[in-house]
Structure formats: C-alpha cells, structure tokens
Amino acid sequence: MRPSEQDEFSWIKLPGTAENLSSFQKYILDLVKQHEAPPDITLKIEMVLEEVLLNIINYAYSGDRPGIIKAGCLFSDEGVIVVRIIDQGVPFDPSSSPDPDTTLPLEDRDIGGLGIFLVRRMSDQVDYQRKDGQNILDIGFRL
C-alpha cells in the first residue's frame, strides 16, 4: 500500500503551530470531500490529522521556533486514501508506540498515548519511515 515516490501527492506546507491545525485539516478535507469519501471516513481523517499534527507540534521540535510540517494526500487507484505527514523533528514512530491499557478502571486511567492509539485504530494502515532526517508517516484509509 505504500505509495511510490512518483505518486502524485497534493501538499500543504506550514509552520507547525496549533493555530495552523485547522488550515492543514481544511486543505486535506477539501480534497477528500472532492473525491466523495463517505462522511465517516472524512471524520476519521479529520481526527487523525488533529492527533498526529498536535503530537508533532507539541513534541517534535525543541526551541521556540515551530518546525515546518508538510501534509499531503493521495488517492490510489485501489480505492485507498493515503495521508502523508512529514516533519523534521525528533524521530518518532507512531506505528510502534506502545498501546495504552484501555481496560483500567476510571481511577487508574491516564490519557497518555490515547491519541496515537486512536490514529492506529481508526485508520486501516500506518506506515512510518525515517529518511534524510525526516519523519514520514503514511496513514491509509480504504474507501
């Protein structure tokens, strides 16, 4: 399912700030809606973007200046929407971070790790690669 380098992604590239989250979401979701994806998949993509981008915004870059984040989207002939998110922050592989314990009672529950867990469970595939100092994350949704 991993798209080749030649595949045509449409990209948005902005500084990774919380203020820019909605611009990233709007750009990708407009494309997704143009391809007439069902509403439930559109909502999942919106949530996945919120979780992944906030994670990068909050943890990937040290220092005062926000790093640049590139987010793109590709529609494969096999009916898969691939959302690709690229950052130059510290290496982080969301596809292999440990699952939170979702069976703990209320008193013992901690919210840590739940966002990335939701990303993995609400999408059909998550592929990570570290290349040329970049985190490249592909999240696939089958139509």
């Binding site: 949530m47 919120e50 069976t103 209320l106 919210i111 739940l114 939701l118 609400m122």
Partner: protein
C-alpha cells in the same frame, strides 16, 4: 461547542452539542465542572449533538468522570452517535462509563 443543563427530579442532565476537539475540550470540561459543582449526585451527559471527538475530548470527559467519582456521584452517558460511539469503544470508555442508548433509559437507570 454548546453546553446546557437541565435539572430533572432524577438528576442533572448535561446536553453537549458541537465538536469535542483540542479547541473546545477545555471549555466543555470547565462548563461541566461548573454545572456539577452544585453537588448533584446523578449526572447524565447526553452526547447526541456531538458529531466529532478527539483524544482532547476524551481527556476532558475523563477529567469530569474522575471528579464526579471522587465526589461519590454517578455519571452516565447517552445518545452516542457514529464516530463518538466508535471512539468510546476503542478507547475503553464504554467499559469505564455506563452508556445508555437513550436519555430515557439513562434517567431510568440512575
């Protein structure tokens, strides 16, 4: 994000509508905590009007849940739709909280 409450003879019903995301979750949390501070023991949160939820929304719900539990109260949820129901199930929130299909059922059970 719209949060309103109705006092019923059985308990306090909190009605939430809109999006429970990173920009609205803290508002939802503080509004709920404000509403439950009057000491009601039985609380129903009706999520019928929530169409979108992220982990930030879950965090606010967990925080409200812990507060109600610490005060010795009872918190249940009802009317979870589509994505909200799915996110509750995946995250295990369907097991840590009692979920009812309708507001009537929730009020009957508390």
């Amino acid at each position: 994000m719209d949060v309103t409450s109705i006092q019923n003879e059985k308990g306090l019903i909190i009605n939430a509508a809109g999006r429970l995301d990173t920009t609205t979750a803290s508002d939802f949390e503080s509004r709920c905590l404000e509403m439950i501070s009057s000491g009601d023991q039985n609380i129903v949160i009706d999520l019928q009007g929530i169409e979108y939820i992220s982990s930030a929304g879950l965090r606010s719900i967990l925080s409200v849940g812990k507060k109600v539990r610490a005060d010795g109260g009872n918190l249940v949820f009802c009317n979870l739709k589509g994505m909200v129901r799915e996110v509750f199930e995946i995250s295990g929130f369907s097991s840590i909280f009692t979920i009812h299909d309708t507001r009537e059922q929730a009020l009957e059970a508390i």
